[in-house]
Amino acid sequence: MHAIVVNGLEKRFGEILALDHVSFTVETGEVFGYLGPNGAGKTTTIRILTGITSPSGGSATIFGSDIVRDTIQARRNMGIVYETSNIYDDITAWQNMMFAGELYHVGKEDRESRGKELLEVFGLWDRRASRVKGFSKGMKRRLTLAMGLINDPKLLFLDEPTSGLDVQSNLIIRDVLRSLTERGVTVFLTTHNIEEANQTCDRVAIINRGRIAAIDSPERLKKTIQSVQSVEVAFEHGGAQALSALSGLPMVSEARKVGDKVRLYTEDPGGLLREIVSYADSHQDRVVSATTFGPTLEDVFIRLTGLRRPKDGREEP
């Protein structure tokens, strides 16, 4: 059975079309990445799939249960880790865990043994009796994750689980994800971090402005992603002439002027740098500065959809 089936999902907030006919399928046991920049519609998708918000159009099922008509049944098998660490500051870590267990109707024995196990895994067992108020951001994030797992879910929603965390918290979370997938738990994870999607996901959907641009394995998306690395160069004699000369190179997929600099997109920044230097040498010019940039999500998205680069902050078809 499919873990998640999403069909033509639409969500309007007044004038804003936050989700525009989004469709995808997540297989059982898969780690599905939902990659998109700020405001893309990632959280909105999770809120619909968990039944907090109702869709304006389209449908979604979780292990075969319709999320609108059969909300409670659909929720029984899921764990949710929200974008903000939403835990109760005024009670202890342990009380938070037990409360989450009771909300999901986990029996007393089970929730106590699982609660202990999870707090240990997330490195919070020693602080179980402390009020959450004094916890660091990373500790709060880990507790939120632990609470999301108290009902031993078959499907886990993670809304930007590692964003803004330190290395230690990140490592723990990655470890837990790995052991979950080994046990066959399906994971739906949102992120705006390409590297994270690449490292943790079996498949990745790229979403921007409410539309899915591509769904593929990270390996295949990587090719697109690789092609949008770039080098930004400033020449002593300005860039206009260099732009036309360098944009003709086979390794340059796109070139444009950025202020008095030239921005060149390529999958081989190292090779391009050599070409740039030899161009400068042969044209009695000098490279004042050169910076290489990794792929940005916006770049990947534009490449995938063939949209033109935003001029006034909006894309044009």
């Binding site: 968990t50 039944g51 907090i52 918000t53 109702s54 409670i72 049944q73 929720r75 029984r76 949710i80 929200y82 903000t84 939403n86 835990i87 109760y88 500051d89 005024d90 009670i91 009380q95 409360f99 989450a100 009771e102 909300l103 999901y104 109707h105």
Partner: protein, 252 residues
């Protein structure tokens, strides 16, 4: 199969509702603004009325109990729910595998228990300090429990308004709660009110709760106690229904 499933879900709803109530008790019962709204405010109202009238203090106790229940039972959710909207913990409840009914009941339950606890104070002080006698304890219990049920649900109902600031809800709620004190026969008996006041009193649940409590103290009742009970149950069901509808509506 269907029956087993339903029973299991019912148990899940009960466990979740009770967990929500317990959580509110631990977190909010001792918050200063809740104590002020639930305990001190009715006390000051009582003193104000007592100072302006030539009746023995003990005679005002039943009215004080009614007003205390009104304020204390409806003061928890209007504070806790907006705060939990802000910290996004409310979404935890909204996304749990239970119905909205369980959430509304659980939230109301903490206000209910709180107000019963608080209302015992004037009850006991009345007996010890003013020599109050309770002629029908059963009627008193019915009056207190049903009032608490009604008003805690009313508090949850008002808290449905989608704001993150408790002040917003408190001021809307006070727009309703304060006038209720004057038109429900708590400190001013119904027969001392102009006809308009009496007409309004019919629409106030506080009228029927207070009537039961007055009756339990042996004071003349305005209605048949049975009618009071029926009216309070009706108000409770209506509040529960509207609260459920509002949470569903604002949760789009």
């Amino acid at each position: 199969m269907i029956e087993g499933f339903d029973r299991n879900q019912l148990a899940a709803e009960a466990v979740a509702a009770w967990a929500i109530a317990k959580k509110d008790m631990i977190i909010y019962y001792l918050k200063p603004n809740i104590i002020i709204a639930g305990l001190l405010f009715p006390l000051f109202m009582f003193l104000a009325f007592a100072a302006g009238k030539n009746v023995p203090l003990g005679a005002l106790i039943p009215g004080l109990i009614s007003v205390t229940i009104l304020f204390s039972s409806s003061s928890i959710e209007p504070v806790s729910i907006p705060i939990e909207r802000r910290t996004k913990t409310f979404e935890r409840l909204l996304s749990a595998p239970v119905s909205l009914h369980a959430i509304v009941v659980g939230e109301s339950l903490s206000g209910f228990l709180y107000s019963i606890g608080i209302a015992l104070l004037p009850l006991i002080v009345g007996i010890i300090a003013f020599g109050n006698t309770i002629t029908s304890p059963l009627v008193l219990m019915a009056g207190m429990l049903l009032s608490a049920l009604c008003f805690s649900t009313m508090g949850t109902l008002f808290a449905a308004y989608p704001t993150e600031s408790p002040g917003d809800i408190m001021s809307m709620l006070n727009l309703v709660r304060l006038p209720l004190i004057f038109v429900s026969g708590t400190f001013i008996p119904l027969d001392a009110m102009p006809p308009v006041g009496v007409a309004i009193a019919y629409f106030s649940p506080l009228t029927y709760g207070n009537d039961l409590i007055q009756c339990a103290y042996g004071n003349p009742a305005s209605f048949d106690p049975f009618l009071d009970v029926v009216m309070l149950v009706c108000f409770f069901v209506i509040f529960q229904f509207i609260a459920h509808r509002l949470y569903a509506h604002f949760n789009e």
